[in-house]
């Protein structure tokens, strides 16, 4: 198990290094940072001093190492646009995105898993077929359309939930949360639902497919022959055997949800990392973009590594093979 852990971590570190290299190359070669930071009145001497000060005259390898060294310490430089530390900009936005994504994930699991089990058990009934049909709609509607529809229904027509923003937030250390205030919770509902809808259908379809497969297996029939009640057979014996791919997909999707929450965040004017990124793109704010790339990749890699470790915990066969 320890060898396995070390291997996985080394693997993850290598991937991160490659990502950092890419982020660095963007940083270094997309436009001239000095050019972007100065205005017309800056003299050549000042420009040279800035160039020297930023370390842009050092060899590329040295610059890369410095970049990695700084990145590891959470220092991605200064935003071109408002001269703020990139890291503090991201730290400000990060909690909003994470809260949104985690809530969306929880919704997708809490709703998706039982729906998958139910549609697998009652396949062929109108209820199950109806859900299947709805799930196709869920998969095929783009999330901004869903977002706009939700705003239309709940904010414009019914006027029960806010259409944009994060509501009031409470700070806990550097973390800000909207979960502790009434308006914060209300503001979270629509974006989280919009973001989770696609995930719900994915989870539901995956669980359904896996369940149908597992329900055919001998040990399910044998469990019933042993007198295990039907619901226990379904929710304990069968479901646990379906969890592996669900765990994989959920964890992977947390990564992509963070990356792609930017659409939902834009629709709902949610002050998260996605919005920050969109603004960075508009202003060619390269340090912010590079930092965003590194952080999102880090989350992806970290989740992947956790998934591998979770596998070993769920399935004793893997434990034995690797332990």
């Amino acid at each position: 198990m320890i060898v396995f852990l070390v291997k996985r971590l080394a693997n993850a570190a290598l991937v991160m290094l490659v990502v950092a290299l890419m982020a660095f190359l963007i940083f270094r070669f997309v436009g001239d940072p000095v050019q972007l930071m100065v205005n017309e009145q800056t003299t050549q001497a000042e420009r040279d001093a800035l160039r020297e000060g930023l370390g842009l005259n050092d060899p590329v390898a040295v610059q890369f190492l410095r970049f990695v060294g700084n990145a590891v310490q959470g220092d991605f430089g200064v935003s071109y646009r408002n001269q703020q530390e990139v890291m503090s900009l991201i730290a400000e936005r990060f909690p909003a995105t994470i809260e949104l994504v985690l809530l969306a994930t929880v919704i997708s699991l809490v709703v998706g898993v039982p729906l998958g089990v139910i549609t697998a058990i009652h396949r062929g009934t109108w209820f199950s077929e109806g859900l299947q049909f709805l799930s196709i709609i869920g998969v095929s509607l783009p999330s901004f359309v869903i977002g706009i529809l939700l705003i239309l229904i709940f904010s414009v027509i019914l006027n029960v939930l806010p259409a944009f923003g994060r509501g009031e937030v409470v700070s806990i250390g550097w973390w800000t949360t909207g979960l502790l205030t009434q308006s914060g919770r209300a503001a979270l509902i629509l974006p989280a639902v919009a973001l989770s809808l696609y995930q719900i259908t994915l989870v539901m379809r995956l669980v359904r497919a896996e369940m149908m497969e597992v329900l055919r297996s001998d040990f399910i029939k044998f469990a019933r022959a042993r007198g295990v009640p039907r619901s226990r057979v379904h929710y304990v014996h069968a479901l646990r055997n379906c969890l592996m791919p669900v765990v994989t997909m959920t964890a992977m999707n947390i990564g992509s949800l963070i990356a792609f929450a930017l659409i939902t965040e834009t629709v709902f004017q949610w002050p998260g990392m996605g919005m920050l990124f969109i603004q960075a793109v508009t202003f060619v704010d390269i340090p912010v973009m590079a930092a965003y790339l590194c952080i999102v990749s880090f989350i992806f890699v970290a989740l992947n590594t956790l998934v591998d470790i979770a596998y070993a915990l769920i399935d004793p066969r893997l434990r034995a093979a690797r332990g």
Binding site: D218, F222, R226, G227, V228, H237, I314, P316, R317
Partner: protein, 328 residues
Amino acid sequence: MTDQPTLDVRNLRVEFPGRHGTVTALDDISLSIRPGEILGVVGESGAGKSMTGLAVQRLLEPPGHIAGGEVWLGGRRIDNVTEREMEKIRGREIGAIFQDPLTSLNPLFSVGRQLIETICLHSDLSKSAAKLRAVELLAEVGIPAPAERVAHYPHQFSGGMRQRVVIALALAARPKLVIADEPTTALDVSIQAQITALLRRLCKENGTAVMLVTHDMGVIAETADRVAVMYAGRLVEIGPVAEVVARPSHPYTRGLMGSIPTLGARVPRLQQIDGAMPRLDAIPPGCAFNPRCPQVHDRCRLERPDLRPATASLAACWLASDAKESAA
């Protein structure tokens, strides 16, 4: 031994409604097993052997269902009880052993957890008492170091050992009846004998009735007390093993016996039964075996024979009864 049979199946009929009409998978099956008795059920693949076992346990795959007849277990009719009632009967009164021990156990739970689950479902034992009982059961089925093995997962056991675990699970609640569906088919020949001997010993000790489903006449001859021969969803012959093996009355049984190789006996060539069993949706009128029967005559193509006393058994053959009548 009491007169009342543990299992009494009366005129059981199982149907599968399908797009192209209803298929009769079991047709008029009647058999009974007394306490402590082992009834072998033989036949070709698709003859309905396993189906009979599944029908008794009410584990038929939908849309298959019992369309007629009755199943009595220890004097209680069980083919019409609710699913909830049936869940209490399965495992508690009817134990099951499946063909493939490699796939019968849930790979994600330790064997102990599966045993404890079964024990707790069918008794009032506490979890710790159930655990002790689980270790006892593993010891009973001959698993070495049971106290240690109880925490192991199925993949840590060999095929033969896993089948022992399956037997332990089947016997966990001391059922009246065990339905063993090809319990040794997936095992090495050397392990087969051990497993059948184990099954036989445990059932004789506990007075458990056993329905031993297999296509292996050798296993039946060694293990069973009586044998039921099935063909195309029908029972063709039923009687004491020794008698049926020595003097089969139905031409199909005779064919089956002729196709078993015997060690030591010099037979120039093993017999085979020509042709194949008809598909269940294309069973010929009259006797189902008539297209393949070497002694077929006109009556066989028109009228279906019922089970009737033959030399030493009951056989569903016009010739068998004729032979007896003419002999008498």
